[in-house]
């Protein structure tokens, strides 16, 4: 589903290279965890996948279902099924949460040539999905992400993900700032979306989340490259020994 080949990318403003020859393949149905120390390029990778303009790809290729997505803007990528759950969901005063959800769902449907949702259909979907994530209706009446606690923001991201039904889900440190109960709710939400035609990339610092969202593959990112890949036992190894051994071995 996703093939990243020799990707090099830098911050557009100052030219700092963050991604330096990254290779990664994620298959449909797979849950891939990406781990790595601070500053290794994890969040940058998530932004590049979703098309944020602040980064510039200088070399390499990102193929999504065999097609390059580098020329597509964020909205076009989203309509093709790429979803980023933000590490820091953005507060937008003046945009009502429900209006935002409806516009997003219908714009994606329009882009795919599907009919817009009727209001009752939309309401039913939101009601069902928010109940699963224990999101109170009052929260949905507020402006987008405004006044949400850290945990509420993360749950709201997963709500958007389940409503938009993307094909490639990228979760950028969705576990940060969550207590254990909220972590379980979020993990259940993600697990409910696991399916043979959908891939999930879980970016995290900690093994903890991977106890609840069990990955098929684990990749260690360091200085903008994947320096080691393995199965879920690799995450346990990192938890026990830290990154030093792997970084040392890769440097040797």
């Amino acid at each position: 589903m996703l093939e990243i080949k020799n990707l090099h990318a830098r911050i557009a403003e100052d030219g700092t290279e963050i991604i330096r020859g990254l290779n990664l393949t994620v298959k449909a149905g797979e849950v891939a965890a990406i781990m790595g120390p601070n500053g290794s390029g994890k969040s940058t990778l998530s932004y590049i996948l979703s098309g944020r303009e602040d980064y510039e790809v200088t070399e390499g290729e990102i193929l999504y279902n065999g097609e390059s997505i580098l020329e597509l803007d964020p909205a076009e990528r989203a309509a093709k099924g790429i979803f980023l759950a933000f590490q820091y969901p953005v507060e937008i005063p003046g945009v009502a949460t429900m209006q935002f959800l409806k516009v997003a769902m219908n714009e994606q449907r329009k882009a795919r040539g599907e009919a817009e949702l009727t209001t009752p259909d939309f309401m039913r979907r939101v009601k069902e999905a928010s109940a699963e994530l224990k999101i109170a209706p009052e929260m949905l009446r507020r402006p987008l992400n405004v006044g949400f606690s850290g945990g509420e923001k993360k749950r709201a991201e997963i709500l958007q993900m389940s409503l938009l039904e993307p094909k490639l889900c990228v979760l950028d440190e969705t576990d940060s700032g969550l207590d254990i109960d909220a972590l379980k709710i979020v993990a259940d939400g993600v697990n409910a979306l696991r399916s043979p035609d959908r891939a999930v990339i879980v970016i995290t610092h900690y093994q903890r989340l991977l106890d609840y969202i069990v990955p098929d593959t684990v990749h260690v990112l360091y200085k903008g490259q994947v320096i080691k890949s393995g199965d879920k036992t690799l995450a346990h190894e990192l938890e026990a020994n830290g990154y030093a051994d792997i970084i040392g071995a890769a440097a040797a």
Partner: protein
């Protein structure tokens, strides 16, 4: 009389002076009104339209900007329109003539024409000061409007809407409105136009809130793209009175809205919220002064401007605190979203504080669309143009939502969305 100063009259100044000579025969008013009018037009001839050399008009050189004045056009046809908020009682002024047939419990309605005819309006016609060009022009020509008296204790069940509908020509209206003690309610003052023929509209609202009155007053100006609108709102707040004043400009080519507030009673609170949606070649000036004259009063002023194309916006805001007005709390902010390289905005905040135990502040920002917010919306599949429109809308919708009056909020958001649809 202009010879005294040796000033050369502009085309618009000449047109106004001539219009006065033509119109005076059939303008309503008794002897006192006529004398007041003569003084106003004579002062106007002496001073002319203000230029940038007059400090209060520094950013709006009316002499240069007002190129022509359309003649009175009694044949122009227009009709009243449905109210902004369904269920409102409408008091309309169509092409300058008031229709006072509506009745509302607790509200005494008279036409301003009657108040001119019997001379009760004469005293209020005087200009505020020597720079009051709007007062002079309006007072010289004013023909109609409404005098409203809201009896003490009245709670308006539905909004009252004062509506002026203009099609070409000139209209000069006045609305003296006295809210008695402990009255509650919403008044919507709308200035709208049919057709695109240039019109000149001047309007002065003279608003007094009695002790404990709790009032929302909304001014919605959606005139035609060639129109000139010169508006003035004079306000006095009694003790513990609360006024939420929304001034929304979404039309006109040359617009000046003056808001002059005297906070005269302890415990009074003013919330001014201004929204200016500017596009094309519009020049839009909001000039605000508030005097906190007694201790323990509060005011907040939030102005949001959205500017496209080659439009120019101006906000002048002055907070004055009298020497014994201790514990005054006044905060003013002006935020502008500039959406074109050719758009322009000038802000002039002024604080004149003569008391020592007060909290007063002001801030002004000029910003572009927040690109992180834009990315977030696009990352959810919302195309760029639509995402931008949502963010522009959000920038102003935020302060409309403070109203917490659902039908009114929806109606105003509808006006804003329609404007953005047309201009963004």
């Amino acid at each position: 009389m202009n010879m005294q100063t040796g000033m050369k009259l502009s085309v618009a100044e000449t047109a106004l002076c001539e219009a006065y000579d033509h119109a005076i025969g059939d303008l309503p008013g008794d002897g006192a009104v006529l004398a007041a009018r003569d003084t106003l037009i004579s002062d106007f001839k002496d001073a002319g339209l203000p230029t940038r050399r007059v400090e209060a008009w520094h950013y709006t050189d009316l002499k240069a900007l007002l190129r022509a004045v359309p003649a009175f056009d009694p044949a122009a046809s227009a009709a009243k329109t449905s109210p902004l908020v369904e269920g409102s009682t409408v008091l309309s002024v169509v092409n300058g003539l008031a229709d006072a047939r509506a009745t509302v419990e607790g509200v005494t309605v008279r036409t301003f024409k009657d108040a001119l005819a019997d001379g009760t309006a004469a005293e209020g016609l005087a200009a505020r000061d020597g720079d009051d060009a709007i007062g002079r022009i309006n007072g010289s020509f004013v023909r109609d409007g409404f005098v409203l008296d809201i009896a003490a204790g009245t709670e308006l069940a539905a909004p009252l809407e004062i509506q002026t509908v203009q099609n070409a020509g000139q209209t000069h209206t006045r609305f003296p409105v006295a809210f008695g003690a402990n009255t509650k309610g919403t008044l919507i003052e709308r200035h709208t136009a049919v057709g695109e023929t240039a019109a000149l509209v001047t309007s002065i609202s003279d608003i007094a809130l009695g002790d404990g009155a709790d009032i929302t007053w909304v001014i919605l100006q959606t005139q035609g793209a060639a129109d000139t609108h010169l508006g003035q709102i004079r306000i006095t707040l009694g003790a513990d009175a609360q006024l939420r004043l929304y001034v929304i400009n979404a039309g006109g080519k040359l617009v000046r809205q003056e808001i002059h507030v005297v906070v005269a009673g302890e415990g009074a609170d003013l919330k001014l919220r201004g929204i200016n949606l500017l596009g094309g070649e519009t020049h839009n000036d909001v000039t605000f002064t508030v005097g906190h004259d007694v201790p323990n009063t509060t005011s907040t002023e939030v102005i949001r401007n959205v500017i496209f194309d080659r439009a120019r916006g101006v906000f002048q805001g002055q907070i004055r605190v009298a020497p014994d007005a201790q514990k005054t709390d006044a905060k003013m902010s002006c935020n502008t979203l500039l959406l074109s390289d050719e758009a322009d905005f000038s802000a002039k905040p002024e604080l004149e504080i003569f008391a020592d135990d007060v909290q007063c502040g002001h801030g002004a920002t000029v910003i572009d669309i927040d690109h992180v917010q834009l990315f977030y919306l696009m990352a959810r599949g919302i195309p760029e143009n639509k995402a931008r429109a949502m963010l522009v809308n959000a920038f102003v919708a935020e302060i409309v939502e403070e109203l917490e009056d659902e039908p009114l909020v929806e109606a105003l958001e509808g006006v804003i969305a329609a404007w953005l649809e047309k201009h963004a």
